[in-house]
């Protein structure tokens, strides 16, 4: 049943959670760059800007320690990381394109082996989504079957209303629990209209048709044509809500150090480089092909989902203006 929360009460809620020791993560301005970061107080929360990076890092950090080692003569001691130390978190102001990516990532992080670094954080996090009233022409959530008011991935979803405040709807037990624990701050939703929601200009792409083309066109001039401009950085993968490739490295000395899991990207030359010198993806078109294939075919083959939520961050940030929406639209128009 729909509830209503005023902006003031939302601020009270967030400040209350912060005071209780819950980590409240929301879009906030960090030295001029909007990012999803822990808030010191509710006043820091931004509601009118898309963070430069996605919300995936609340579950899959840029870098994290997965164990440490110490060597004493011939003996090694390993110290594990305690998942109990991951804090209770409320992720608030999450855009639909960011929230929808989280359940998509659940698939790979629980495929056979359970990655507790991701899953434990998932267990401890409640996601409060927020509908979008603004979009630009890089946004293409509508092209991949999402929308500015899609509630996928959100435990609780806020839609801004005319006159201020938000309509809120719960979509999970976590959402219910959050409302029940702070029921005084929520009232019944009256019939106030929502603010006009954003209208991304892209139309729904036939993803099945795109996948069929990808099934049959591993070799195609399209890859050279598009990748010729790609310079092989990792910006697209790093800002993406759905990209999840990572590296595991040991850093330290022979005596002591840490093993870390860090973001990595298939666009990098050395991503698939063997120690022998052989590299199956030795040229940029092969690497760029892998990006598109992974997002629009392989992840579907393996997990039945598309690895893209149309947030448009890669489009905005690409140093050379590669537009993944244009490429996928182009593919969908091929016979």
């Amino acid at each position: 049943m729909q509830k209503y929360i005023s902006q003031q009460n939302l601020n009270i809620l967030l400040d209350k959670l912060i005071a209780e020791g819950t980590r409240v993560v929301a879009p906030r301005m960090d030295a001029g760059t909007p990012l999803y970061e822990p808030l010191k107080n509710s006043g820091e929360m931004l509601t009118d800007q898309l963070p430069r990076r996605s919300a995936k890092e609340a579950f899959f950090p840029v870098c994290e320690e997965i164990m440490s080692y110490e060597k004493e003569r011939q003996q090694i001691t390993l110290t594990d990381v305690d998942p109990a130390r991951f804090p209770e978190t409320v992720l608030v102001g999450v855009r639909p394109c960011d929230a929808a990516a989280i359940p998509v990532l659940d698939a790979v992080f629980s495929w056979d082996y359970k990655d507790e670094f991701f899953l434990e954080r998932r267990k401890k996090t409640t996601i409060i989504g927020l509908a979008c009233t603004i979009a630009d022409d890089a946004c293409f959530c509508t092209a991949v079957g999402l929308s500015p008011s899609d509630t996928r991935g959100s435990d609780l979803f806020l839609t801004p209303l005319e006159g201020g405040g938000y309509a809120c709807e719960t979509y999970s037990d976590k959402g219910e629990t959050l409302i029940n624990n702070h029921s005084g701050l929520f009232t019944r939703q009256s019939k106030t209209k929502t603010l006009p929601l954003a209208e991304p200009q892209t139309e729904q792409i036939d993803l099945k048709k795109v996948k069929k083309w990808l099934d049959e066109h591993f070799e195609d001039p399209l890859w050279d044509g598009n990748a010729v401009r790609c310079v092989g950085c990792g910006a697209c993968a790093f800002v993406c809500p759905a990209c999840h490739c990572f590296d595991i490295v040991d850093e330290g000395t022979e005596k002591a150090g840490k093993r870390r899991k860090n973001w990595d990207a298939c666009g990098f030359w050395k991503f698939t480089h063997h120690a022998s010198g052989h590299n199956p993806r030795d040229l940029q078109p092969k690497r760029y092909r892998n990006r598109i294939m992974h997002k629009f075919k392989y992840y579907d083959d393996k997990f039945g989902q598309t690895l893209c939520t149309g947030c448009g961050r890669c489009v905005r940030i690409c140093p050379v203006g590669i537009d993944i929406a244009a490429i996928v639209e182009d593919i969908s128009r091929k016979d």
Partner: protein, 306 residues
């Protein structure tokens, strides 16, 4: 808000199209590296054109921010390097090409340079439809001394319309940082480098980062940590600034492409300032085979020897 006169960009676009079509159909060049419009309103992206019919899609607008010189380096193996290569260059891009020639990476006779008169480009193409104004123009353009490239094979439109005089920002910011104590300066850069996520966009767009395997990508030995942590990030950026000192042409692409808004060009401008003071060196349009950090002359400053 002061708006910058961009009326000549249309004339430049027409001229580029005509020249590219002529060159390709006459077989004078085998490819031309230029810019084409993207799907988003006002956007531009690099393109490699190999046939005369496609010359009609080439453009030059304030969204043509890329330094295309990067595509001619040995790091980019996908661009066909046979035959003469045509390339569109702004003044800043040309300085980089000149630097590459000085380092024996390119031969002038292999290139057909189409130098474009440029009033400036956007600081960021995250919203490419933005008009070019004093607020949206790239910081590097505010102090540009290369609006009209020289020594090229073709320059459409021989002169620029009168330019807005804009105050540079790098000089003032470097002066501000120089006036801080070391501890304050260190705190400033620590905060900046903590933002780095090691996407290497800065390296990948830089025409001078053409090493086929970057020192920091090797692991025997591992010179710099790959993890995006403050210590390794600081080392990475310092290593890159040092490797670029005396070479960087100031195209500021590194700063533009950084997804985390790190003011990377400050480091390079500071190094350029040092190089000017110590060795009277600056990047320009003349090929210089004796780069200051690879040659020694008797009059070089020796005050560091105590």
């Amino acid at each position: 808000m002061k708006s910058i006169d961009t009326s000549i960009y249309t004339a430049v676009t027409e001229a580029i199209r005509g020249e590219a079509k002529r060159l390709l159909s006459e077989g004078q060049i085998s490819v031309i590296v230029g810019y084409v419009a993207g799907r988003r309103t006002g956007s531009a992206q690099p393109i490699v054109v190999t046939n005369a019919a496609d010359a009609a899609i080439l453009i030059f607008t304030p969204a043509c921010v890329n330094n295309l010189a990067v595509y001619l380096t040995k790091a980019k193996k996908e661009i066909p390097k046979s035959g003469k290569i045509g390339i569109i260059v702004k003044g800043c891009d040309l300085k980089a090409l000149v630097g590459l020639m000085g380092e024996s990476q390119l031969k002038r006779e292999d290139l057909y340079l189409i130098g474009v008169p440029c009033a400036g480009v956007l600081a960021s193409t995250m919203q490419p439809a933005a008009g070019l104004t004093a607020d949206t123009i790239a910081p590097k353009c505010r102090e540009c001394d290369a609006h009209l490239p020289t020594g090229c094979d073709f320059v459409p439109v021989a002169a620029l319309p009168p330019q807005l005089q804009l105050e540079g920002v790098y000089t003032a910011e470097i002066a501000r940082l120089e006036a801080l104590t070391s501890a304050e300066r260190w705190a400033y850069w620590k905060e900046q480098f903590a933002k780095c996520i090691k996407c290497y966009a800065c390296r990948q767009v830089c025409p001078f980062c053409f090493c086929e395997q970057c020192l920091c990508d090797r692991n025997k030995p591992q010179m710099v940590e790959t993890t995006p942590r403050p210590a390794g990030n600081t080392a990475w950026h310092i290593v890159r600034a040092m490797h670029l000192a005396g070479r960087c042409a100031g195209c500021a692409e590194c700063e533009r492409v950084c997804p985390m808004d790190i003011p990377l060009n400050l480091l390079n401008r500071k190094m350029a300032k040092e190089l000017k003071e110590l060795f009277d060196y600056e990047a320009g349009f003349e090929v210089n085979e004796k780069s200051p950090l690879t040659t020694f002359t008797e009059k070089d400053d020796q005050s560091f020897i105590k």
